[in-house]
Amino acid sequence: MDKLIIAGHTFSSRLFVGTGKYPTLVVMKESLEASGTEMVTVALRRVNLDEPGESLLSHIDLEKYFLLPNTAGCHTAEEAVRTARLARAAGLSNWVKLEVIPDDGSLLPDPVETVRAADMLVKDGFVVLPYTTDDHTVARRLVEAGCAAVMPFGSAIGTGQGLPHPERLQRLIDVVHGYVPVVVDAGIGAPSDAALAMELGADAVLINTAIAQAGDPVSMAVAMALGVRAGRLAYLAGRIPRSASASPSSPDSGSLL
């Protein structure tokens, strides 16, 4: 599979994976391994001083995986900027997955606050990968703000509904194509969803719930990697168009009938 470059960083895998919601950290580690991913997302939270618990990073090999901190839980641009700065201070990178989501239960991004935050973060020297809607105009604004990629949802986080509006994603991909990579992030439920995203021309997908909460996360991680690969190869191979009229696959002449 052809390599993907985001902000000068080369990836061999077009499947990025989240570290949340696994039954155990051991299963998480095995699933990341099985997926072949090279970039994983993490969140930033207060240390629980009463019960610090296991450190996530003791289960993630930083030589193997590039860590992408998110701003999950932030409802405003200011909160997202504060969180991103804290994450950067950990000393791993200046990359951030920007998420600005209102506190209304939808888990859909606030496009206005996301664009505002992206602008502030880019000016502060961050490499910004924004989780966004499937609106092509918002995507264009994020590209104009200097984001290193755009990450539209397929559907809302954790819903596993796949891509109910592929034409919207297609329009977004067409608008952004040639500027920055498009990573479909959120809502993927099955490998066929991941394959579809790649067939539409997405450059990568980011999957968390569909792997972490599958019956067998490790097997699902393998399946998702295959789906991403199938979709990318199909995109490069050039699918046939959908046709209103049928045409036979076997010759018309020479039949003995």
Binding site: L44, L57, A72
Partner: protein
């Protein structure tokens, strides 16, 4: 001396530095990030950052997330 640590009120007998606090909490400092009165500290700053009455300290780290 009263200060706020990770959103909860905490009492210290006397002024202490962030380095003292981390030692007291027995927290390995690798990949932790500390914010003192809205200022993000570097590890080099811990020994000099004095926590005073009414101060707010946040100690955060990376956790599982999507």
């Amino acid at each position: 001396m009263n200060f706020v640590l990770n959103g909860k009120a905490r009492v210290a007998v006397s002024d202490l530095t962030v380095a003292d606090l981390l030692r007291e909490l027995e927290l390995a400092t690798e990949r932790l990030v500390v914010e003192h009165n809205a200022r993000i500290l570097r590890a080099d700053d811990y020994a000099d950052a004095c926590i005073g009455d009414g101060d707010k300290v946040e100690i955060v780290r990376f956790v599982a997330g999507g």
